[in-house]
Symmetry: C2
Subunit: 426 residues, 2 copies
């Protein structure tokens, strides 16, 4: 029998060494957020299809895995719409489920509610190297907190969580959607064109100023407006943290006092953090963040080892209300779980001991030896002697064992100390 | 806007207190198996539908959530078979994915391979109280080990894992499918009727001997055969562990020497364990275990607090080969994760501190106070003062906080010790 044993297209199996790295990252993150009072929740993988197709998911809604209704006839009646055959879909993110969860369970949740979610989401994307159709998202959100306490705490907890995984030395990039709106308004860009403007700005990293200018004029923005925009942005790039709020007030007189006060509070708090930890922060006037639902400060956290950001998020005060009918101020950060796992790679522990036993050793002796080593705190697995000795030791090493004891029937002595030998030190 | 915010039918949201119990159980189990060298793997939730419908899943195959192909036309052509519209399904257990995983990745896995899996599976069952259409399974398996070392180690590790969750005082029920076959053969039951016979025997707990006898004669078994069967079983019930193997050899001369030797080894090992730990074991001649794929010793682990078993499994030497084309001896135990979580219930920790701050306290002071408490190892969350003081303290207690500090603008003193007060001790 010859069978194709690959995972379904675009999916992957996670082998023990990979899972070990994932578990390490997850444990480090979970422990930090727990100490900030974030509590893990879980929602089902399947949601009613209408909820997933509610229009807030953008392009992701096209990538939903749709699930057939149960109890259908074997043959589909002529002219049936595909939509009539389905009633459920696999979640494509953790935000839509969170909004449903919050609307449903608000009465029994703390206020503000500090939420921690980690789990798989599914998107039927074109398969490509390093991207999979099932992947983990890791979201922390504070729901019900209108002040920038939320923003600051989330950044503080997240940078600490990243450091706990092994990614210290992070830089926090900060901006504010209200700043971007004031910028566009001041340059007299019509409001209908703001989203396009922001999308172009977001590409500065990739296409440079020349590219951004070309795209903006291509979008029909007059040259003088483009000049005014780029001058304002350039003037704010690299402004010293202490002078940021004054610089913003000068550059954009139309910027609300509340926006300035919020940015001042965040800037001061990040300055305190930067003193205490291996952490930098900067205001980045070209930071946009893709999703359209942000309403206030936005963040990205970068690390020298990674080209893309390792975390990002911001305030989204109106989304939960739109999705669930329950209005609530909200702020969240998503950690790039899969990216971080890829960055950290595998670092096998090699702490486990193989109890290598000859075929004629009674199993009771094998089990007793394993038990003795385990009682001493070791990780222990019996393995039967087989094939050439050196070759088998090579395999044990490959499999991640760090050492072994060899049980031979002619040398059994339950009272003697077990002779442990290290692997890989020929 | 009025929206239905319930989870999809038969699904449920897991709130923080529930997730905390689940995480506790999972951490306890994981830690024990890790010390035995079991390594966690993960397979995708979606599998190709042909694999799931391969015929080894029994009734479960009727409960598969089937996933629509991507890129279908909006209207289904006349006379299309439902089967042509789908290509994937959600896994209904962890055994089918394990067999595919093992066949695919065997070359890079240790031999024997100690596998640990935990994760959701999906079954479109009729919704009923306490049963959900998405639930967790927790399977440990040893693949590649032909001897009862596998059986014994799995029972040893599992009873230790159960004790670590808080369920010590377990009893292990042992039988062997080869014993059941010998029993049926000795009573001259035709082989085609064995499965039905075993299914009836399995109901002894529920329907008693009278019920079993009625069902067996109803199945067409002559009275003398039924007598012989029940006499043999009754004679073996409650036999002292030390005399078990002799009793079996006497009662069933057709029982193979290998079966007796295996049972003797397992019995001796369990006797050693029972001396060392709070653990009992017994041979249970009516133990069957539902699935048809078992080939050797079978187990069930029960606990006084639970009507049903809390874990069960056995040897299934031919299943992996049938599913994947790669023959390998295999033995596994499945832990009743959801049942154990239900048994243990919620025991909130109450270790977290609320930093209750008046609206006029600068956020920097709030954050600094939280940071000071966290540096001392505490779990800390700021909460704004709001409403009547006593009522808010009541809410804090409801939300699981164990204590609070109250920050007031007129009493701020960054150097003073924070006055922590306990909740729920009026």
């Amino acid at each position: 029998m010859k069978t194709d044993l690959s995972p379904a297209r675009g999916m992957r199996d996670l082998l023990p060494a990979t899972v070990a790295v994932r578990d390490h990252v997850l444990a480090a993150i979970t422990d930090v957020y727990r100490r900030y009072g974030y509590r893990r929740i879980e929602t089902p993988a399947l949601e009613n299809i209408e909820r997933l197709q509610g229009g807030q998911g953008g392009e992701n809604e096209k990538l939903i895995y749709r699930v057939l209704r149960r109890g259908l006839d074997e043959r589909v009646a002529a002219d049936t719409a595909v939509g009539d055959l389905i009633d459920l879909g696999l979640r494509y993110d953790l935000t839509v489920p969170l909004s449903r969860f919050y609307g449903q369970n608000r009465a029994s949740l703390p206020d503000p509610f500090r939420s921690f979610q980690v789990g798989p989401v599914w998107r039927a994307e074109r398969p490509q190297k390093g991207r999979y159709r099932q992947f983990y998202q890791c979201d922390i959100d504070m729901l019900g907190e209108p002040s920038v306490l939320a923003e600051i705490e989330l950044v503080e907890a997240t940078t600490e969580a990243l450091a706990a995984t092994g990614l210290a030395d992070t830089t926090v990039r900060v901006s504010d959607r209200r700043f971007l709106s004031a910028l566009a308004a001041r340059a007299e860009v019509p409001e209908a064109a703001w989203d396009g403007l922001f999308i172009t700005l977001d590409k500065l990293d990739k296409i440079g100023w020349a590219g951004v200018r070309a795209e903006l004029t291509g979008r029909g923005l007059p040259e003088p407006q483009v000049d005014r925009l780029t001058d304002t942005i350039e003037g704010l790039h690299g402004v010293e943290a202490g002078k940021l709020v004054d610089a913003l007030a000068d550059a954009l007189p139309n910027l609300g006092e509340d926006v300035l006060a919020d940015l001042r509070t965040t800037a001061d708090a990040l300055a305190v953090l930067a003193e205490q930890r291996d952490l930098r922060w900067e205001f980045d006037p070209t930071l946009v963040r893709g999703m359209g639902y942000y309403t206030g400060q936005i963040f990205e956290i970068v690390h020298p080892a990674s080209a893309g950001s390792v975390a990002g998020g911001g305030r989204y005060d109106r989304l939960i209300g739109r999705l669930s009918g329950t209005d609530v101020p909200a702020c969240g950060i998503s950690i790039g779980f899969e990216r971080i796992v890829d960055l950290l790679g595998g670092t096998p522990e090699r702490a486990s001991v193989a109890v290598l036993y000859d075929a004629d050793v009674p199993l009771a002796e094998v089990l007793a030896a394993a038990r003795r080593l385990r009682a001493a705190g070791r990780t222990v697995s019996p393995v039967r002697r087989r094939g050439k000795f050196g070759a088998q030791l090579g395999r044990l090493e490959e499999w991640g064992f760090g050492s072994f004891v060899h049980l031979r029937a002619d040398l059994l002595d339950a009272t003697a100390e077990l002779q442990e030998r290290h692997l890989g030190e020929a």
